[in-house]
Amino acid sequence: MIEKTVYLDNAAATRMDERVLEAMKPYFFDIYPVATSEFGYSLGIEAREALEKARHTLANYIGATGEEFIFTSGSTESSNIAVKGVALSLGEKKGKHIIISEIEDFPVLHSAKALEKQGFSITYLDVDPEGLVNLNRLRDSITDETILVSIQHANQEIGTIQDIETIGRICNEKGVLFHTDATHTFTRVPLDLKKVKVDLITVSSHTIHGPKGVGGLYLRKGTPVTKWMDGGFQEFNLRAGLENIPGAVGFAKAVELVAPEENERLKTMRDHLIDRVSAEIPDTTLNGHRSKRSPQNANITFHFVEGESITLHLDMRGFSVSTGSACFSRSLEASHVILGLGGNHERAHGSIRFTFSRYNTMEEVDSVIDTIAEVVGELRKISPLGNKKEVQK
């Protein structure tokens, strides 16, 4: 039925680049041992050197040194190490207060909730209708008990980019650690440690055409993080477990392959979709900020219709997108991000997220717009709500 799938759910996972696979291959078949110490055997030393080279590529990319970057199994683990690691380290010594935004992705949100059950107090900062954290409120929320502020760089669903430069400055002035989840901006939006005062950064490979199952955490030198998954002494004794060397090599390769022109191209596709949809399909709302937005993300609510119905119709026509509708999720809960923008269930119900990648083309963007205009028009004909204007072609 479907000749070719147009995949527009790249915030969830991207197609891996063949060049990444080529870079990884030797570490499966030739240099397959674990990384040994420099006193080990030759293959193990080679493996360790490959791991350290990958580490330096990633650290250098954000202006850090190699000792400040550890590999993990992905952004979930990175954020867990950051949030829980700081809590374990400073909870008894300094205080039990942590500040996050209410639209954080699940690794930070649920780590905070888990800590809350153990006696930590969490401030969930609300966001404005475009998804931005109020910086004055952040400043006012910091107390002597506050040990960590964790606010994402860009949002996973609506793409809104927070002003992490100012947030970093506020945290620095108040002497509080700052963690940012940069899963959806890494290599897409500049993050320079010379400009941004941030202590911990979560990154991942799966969003940038690298392999799944590998991510990283930047930790500024001296950041107090207690190790809580016990085992060996890997990753500067912060993250136990066998190193995923092919993964680390693939991650580094994926970073090297991202060119600035690519991000411009993503932005052009994003803007084209947002502009055409708002001009051609009535009763739509852009979710997230218009310009302070990750280059690969467009998220739009099509009023009076439900998201799972849209995604299923699109899937049958060969397009993969996602929605914040409760009906789409396993938990049957509407997106906490869209609800956070104004507590509006209807807005989550008809929200569709489009996320672009290296492999999408302008033709695909045009064809998804044409198709969604048709699908939304059909669904509105059977909807009991609101103005059922014909969708313009």
């Binding site: 119905s309 299923l312 009906c327 509407a334 059977i382 909807s383 609101g386």
Partner: protein, 211 residues
């Protein structure tokens, strides 16, 4: 690849039957699901002599299961007497569709409830309700539990939006804590009137919004 939906569900989802509204319906109802925010509306036309459903249409603001069940229910009910149609249950609808995912029960059961409510609405409007108890504030409140606020995906009573209910000489007055200019104010007003007006001793329904 295994799809969660049967061929039949997908077929009804893609080509829903009997969609829309009936002009001057003999019975109508709108049901909303607090769990996922879906809504379904059912309109029926009834032959006054045979008490058979001569026409039926549905509308859906919902997911695939909701749309497919709305569609199948119209096919199952058309031509049946009201007594027969009342007996149609979720299991029959689900079987007619070749099965529905269990997690989607609550969004698909809405169409069945919609059909039953439309029949009840017909019976109330045509003096066919046998047991005629006087309308009380409690009866009104119970009915308002079926009026959904699309903004929260929850019903008006559960979300404490119903500030006051009075019943005096056949006039029901409902005060709702949303502004007149609210995006769905007129939808909510219509739904309240639709739910309360058919009660046999109700002559007038007044909906007041708070500014």
């Amino acid at each position: 690849m295994t799809f969660p939906y049967s061929e039949k569900v997908l077929e009804h989802f893609r080509h829903p039957r009997n969609v829309g509204k009936i002009e001057n319906p003999d019975g109508n109802a709108m049901e909303g699901s607090p769990a996922c925010g879906d809504m379904v509306g059912v309109n029926i036309k009834v032959d006054p002599d045979t008490k058979r459903i001569t026409d039926i249409k549905f509308e859906s603001y919902g997911c695939a299961s909701n749309i497919a069940t709305g569609s199948i229910i119209t096919e199952l009910a058309k031509g049946k007497t009201l007594e027969e149609a009342k007996k149609i249950n979720w299991k029959q609808a689900s079987e007619a569709l070749g099965g529905l995912p269990p997690i989607k029960t609550h969004c698909s059961v809405l169409a069945v409830e919609g059909l039953r409510s439309a029949i009840q609405n017909y019976e109330e409007r045509h003096g066919l309700v046998k047991d005629q108890k006087p309308t009380t504030v409690e009866i009104v409140r119970k009915r308002l539990k079926k009026v959904m606020n699309p903004l929260s995906g929850l019903d008006l009573v559960h979300t404490e939006l119903v500030k006051d209910i009075t019943v005096t000489d056949g006039t029901v007055h409902v005060v709702v804590d949303i502004p007149t200019g609210h995006q769905f104010a007129s939808n909510i007003r219509n739904e309240i009137v639709d739910k309360i007006e058919p009660l046999w001793d109700v002559k007038k329904v007044e909906v007041e919004f708070m500014e």
